[in-house]
Amino acid sequence: MMLEIESLWLNFGGITALSDINFSIEEGKISSIIGPNGAGKTCLFNCITGIYKTRMGSIRFLGRELVGLKPYQISKLKIARTFQNVELFNKLTVLDNLLLGRHNSIKSSFLMSGIFWGKACSEETENRRRVEEVIDFLEMEKWSKHIVGNLPYGIQKRTELGRALSMNPKLLLIDEVSSGMNAEETEDMSRFILDIKEEMGITIILVEHDMRVIMDISDWIMVLDFGKKIADGPPEEVKKDPMVIRSYLGG
């Protein structure tokens, strides 16, 4: 098991956002988390990446405990994520955004970078090579030198995926990949996600509202409602679960 979550609780004051969540993610699979608005899907992502601090429960990634680590320490274990509302560095180019994804792989100190001598210089070009691979993979050569804030929403979403990919992650958390996109863009994204799994062998956890996307590409689904897990299993099983139909899918 790649990621194991055991009896995870998250409270904000009197409100319980997540109560007693248990599940585990298999390596090399696409797992999806679905549920109505406010069910705690994004909260779960924030717990895994260390943005929210949990008091109870444990999150283990490849045997290492994540609870108590800071977000930047968790990123060093090669967990990458995208955000529900695009969180890009708007004033930078697509290229620079992706290069920021290489932050952990560049080792030279700020003094050497300022002098731009020796390793600092060669590291920049080496990491540029990896970033260009990601740009090729996501088919965005055309936009690589554009300021990201001026680009259309669909491209911004793709840039965010690219930034996560340039971290060379082992586990990729994708939050609401299809929100605000048209059918064609959503289809492109689903294809990219499948390619990421198959070509790069990256384990993916998906939060998504579009049921068509979910049922098509997931290997495993977990359903949350009001911070509680109400079902999990392969897509066919979850689709037929009476609890899921009542709280989320509807009659």
Binding site: I74, E87, D96, L100, H103, N104, I106, F110, G114, T125
Partner: protein, 349 residues
């Protein structure tokens, strides 16, 4: 037009500063101009004085831009770091008889060290709250400078000597050739810093700090680095300023100096090295320009020169407001637009 026929085969070529022969020759020309400038007008000491002051302001404003423009941590305590640099250097050379170059470097590091201390709360507080804490730091510094009479000479100030062995830096010309190489070096450092890992990390903190942290940027580390570098630049600028004018008092570092530096980076362009240079020259040159014009007009309207003091503030304020309204990207943004216009000329796009 200039982009035609430019093919790059390696990534190294793509990140070079001097990409084309055209740019190289421009820089060579600029470099020659910098060397020849004081030699071409040996009589005009006043122009040289203004140039030197501009050079010092460029160092200071690049420093502030690294912190406020690039990393997004707004500081109005910049004058304090300038003062710390100036006083450290003065005390080291006068009391402890340090040679000037060593005192210059040490004053940069002393300012940087205090910058780190001021930067510590930036992990917990942001925006206006941080701004207030930097302001508090300024007033504490000023209080110490005024009241620690045995060390700083209080309100009367302190004399600053500039000697390297028996060689004394006493003319504007000598100072020009001291200040300009430092300006060039520190500009190059800032430019490289900005276009590599640490610079990108600082910009990431400014734009989205949560996203920055999830891709591995240690917020505390990079905010601290930004504070350190910013105050190092201010320390160097302050030290040069002190040595240049020869006698410093707390009045040389008023609170309005911090605001003036903030104005430089806003007018020049936040987050841009070129912008800091433009802004510093602009803010130093405009009052001189106004002075020249009113001097010229005083032959025709003698009253005008009397009102100059009031007028200066008004025009200064108007310029800053119009920049905020019409060109939020500052002079550097305008410069980019002009360059793009000529690149595409005679086509509109």
């Amino acid at each position: 037009m200039a982009t035609c026929g430019q093919f790059k085969t390696t990534y190294r070529e793509d990140i070079k500063v001097w990409k084309t022969l055209w740019l190289k020759s421009w820089f060579a020309f600029l470099f020659m101009l910098m060397i020849l400038f004081p030699i071409l007008n040996p009589a005009d000491c006043y122009l040289l004085y203004i140039t030197n002051i501009c050079g010092i302001a460029v160092i200071g404003s690049i420093g502030l831009n690294m912190l406020s423009g690039v990393t997004g941590q707004i500081s109005i305590g910049h004058a304090a770091f300038l003062a710390i640099g100036a006083y450290t250097s003065a005390i080291l050379t006068a009391t402890l008889k340090f040679p000037f170059p060593i005192a210059l470097i040490i004053s940069g590091f002393v300012a940087a060290l205090l910058g780190l201390v001021v930067g510590l709360p930036s992990m917990r507080i942001k925006g206006l709250y941080l701004l207030l804490s930097t302001m508090a730091f300024y007033f504490i510094t000023l209080y110490v400078l005024v009241h620690w009479k045995s060390l700083t000479g209080g309100v009367e100030g302190i004399e600053v000597q500039t000697k390297i062995g028996s060689f004394e830096l006493d003319t504007d010309l000598k100072f020009y050739f001291l200040i300009m190489p430092i300006v060039v070096l520190l500009t190059a450092f800032a430019r490289n810093f900005l276009h590599t890992k640490p610079g990108r990390a600082c910009i990431a903190i400014r734009d989205r700090d949560i996203a920055a942290e999830t891709i591995g940027v240690n917020l505390f580390k990079y905010k601290t680095i930004a504070f350190g570098i910013s105050s190092f630049y201010a320390g160097i600028a302050g030290s040069l300023f002190g040595h240049y004018i020869g006698w410093i008092t707390p009045e040389h570092f008023p609170f309005s100096l911090s605001i003036e530096y903030l104005a430089m980076i806003i007018v020049g362009g936040l987050g841009s090295v070129l912008g800091s240079i433009f802004g510093a020259i602009f803010i130093i040159a405009v009052p001189e320009g106004i002075r020249l014009i009113s001097h010229f007009l005083s032959n025709i309207y003698p009253d005008v020169i009397m009102k100059f003091i009031d007028l200066k503030g008004v025009i200064f304020g108007l310029i800053i407001i119009s920049f905020l309204v019409f060109e939020p990207e500052g002079l550097a943004g305008r410069w980019e637009k002009i360059k793009i216009y000529f690149k595409n000329w005679p086509y509109a796009y």
